[in-house]
């Protein structure tokens, strides 16, 4: 009987630990204003180099001082291929960094590991890799992909285009058909004329 009670107590404690860890996962003992400054200086280039696919992508930060929020618009060519934000929520003397990742058309988050893109910007999933972006910023260090948690390997076109890009130095382009290098696309255009190019619906409808 006592063993059962002890077991119950352990389970209850574990449940509490699990909850508080989840809630304060991105809590840092850094004052909100300072936390916001650190996020602005986040190593977005390191993040990009570690997680981008075969296309060149550009990060345009928008800072909202009043809410201590920074949103990066990620573009390739003239198209927005992703967007995410980090929001500083004061908590006690420290800060919780809240990740803002838009919804995909299916209601899940963009780049959540289940999304399919013809011209992806990042290896999926995005969320765990943003945690490292936050951690690196808060610890004022470079982005370090070795610190990423174990994640399922991304076998999508992102990984293969990234490998080809690294091997050849020739990036893919959003205005070329999916999976074709620019050289291949140009060769095909000169032979067949214009080529159909897939477009991704990255974002879901914005709610009311």
């Amino acid at each position: 009987m006592r063993t059962w009670r002890r077991g119950g107590l352990v389970i209850a404690l574990l449940a509490l630990v699990g909850c508080s860890k989840g809630a304060d996962e991105l809590y840092y003992d850094v004052a909100p204003d300072d936390a916001f400054v650190r996020l602005i200086k986040a190593d977005i280039t390191g993040f990009r180099d570690a997680r981008q696919c075969g296309m060149l992508i550009y990060f345009e930060p928008k800072e909202y001082d009043a809410t201590r929020t920074i949103v990066w618009e990620v573009t390739s060519g003239d198209r927005t291929v992703a967007r995410f934000g980090l929001h500083v929520v004061p908590k006690g003397s420290g800060s919780v960094i809240e990740m803002q990742i838009p919804k995909a058309p299916d209601g899940k988050e963009i780049y959540d590991g289940t999304q399919k893109y013809s011209h992806p910007a990042f290896l999926q999933p995005l969320r765990p890799t943003l945690r490292e972006l936050v951690a690196a910023a808060m610890e004022q260090r470079s982005y370090d992909w070795h610190r990423l948690p174990d994640m399922p390997v991304d076998y999508t076109i992102c990984a293969s285009t990234r490998q080809n890009f690294i091997a050849s130095g020739q990036p893919y382009r959003i205005d070329d058909p999916s999976g074709m290098t620019h050289e291949q696309a140009e060769a095909a255009r000169s032979k067949y004329g214009s080529l159909p190019v897939e477009r991704d619906d990255v974002f879901g409808p914005v709610g009311p």
């Binding site: 990009r48 180099d49 690294i166 130095g169």
Partner: protein, 200 residues
């Protein structure tokens, strides 16, 4: 990862013990006289299976002490191999030392550098690759034993020491992988940075 690294020292201890045990049984006695044993071993070659494609043995040569086999780079037919390392270059001498004992011969094995290789460097190489010494000694022993007992060379008799040699190489392999990873990451960053710079 940290847990795996903590296991290395234990693996080393196990390896060291196994290597010591393997080294204990170095001398073997055969009923043949030293002259007969030498005559049987001279001209034999150690099967390629003992070295893979990276090396092969020359024919056994008679020496004052017994018989020696030169280990040469590349396969015996010279068909492949690393062009940076000269095909046919002697890299090691495997020796069977024959000493008359009673009405037969005691056989011990030894590894020595070929004349053009600095003995200190040779020793350093084996210090760096701890399992290799036992593996090559085992190969010579099996070659001599198979010839002197009139049986085929048995891969099964050397596979244990080969496995030990591979285990001994794991730290080196790990280090090499880490170094390769760093080089690849640098290459990755350079390639990406260059692409962005070019696109400006």
């Amino acid at each position: 990862m940290k847990n795996h690294r903590a296991q290395w020292p234990r693996s080393f201890v196990a390896l060291a013990l196994l290597t010591m045990l393997a080294a204990c049984d170095d001398t073997k006695h055969y009923p043949a006289s030293t002259d007969t044993a030498r005559a049987m071993l001279v001209g034999t070659t150690i099967p390629d299976i003992a070295f893979g494609n990276s090396a092969h043995s020359g024919p056994g040569e008679a020496t004052a002490e017994g018989v020696q086999w030169a280990v040469e780079v590349g396969p015996a037919d010279g068909s492949a191999g690393d062009p940076e390392h000269g095909i046919g270059d002697k890299v090691m001498m495997l020796k069977a030392k024959l000493v008359a004992a009673g009405d037969g011969t005691d056989l011990t094995v030894d590894l020595t550098p070929p004349p053009h290789v600095d003995p200190a460097k040779f020793k350093a190489l084996f210090d760096q690759h701890p399992g290799m010494d036992g593996m090559f000694r085992n190969i010579v022993q099996e070659q001599a034993d198979s010839v002197l007992t009139n049986r085929p060379f048995s891969y099964a008799n050397i596979s244990g020491s080969m496995a030990l040699a591979v285990l001994g190489e794991l730290p080196n392999i790990r280090q090499q992988l880490d170094e390769d990873e760093k080089v690849y990451e640098l290459h990755e960053r350079d390639t990406i940075d260059h692409a962005y710079d070019s696109a400006k």
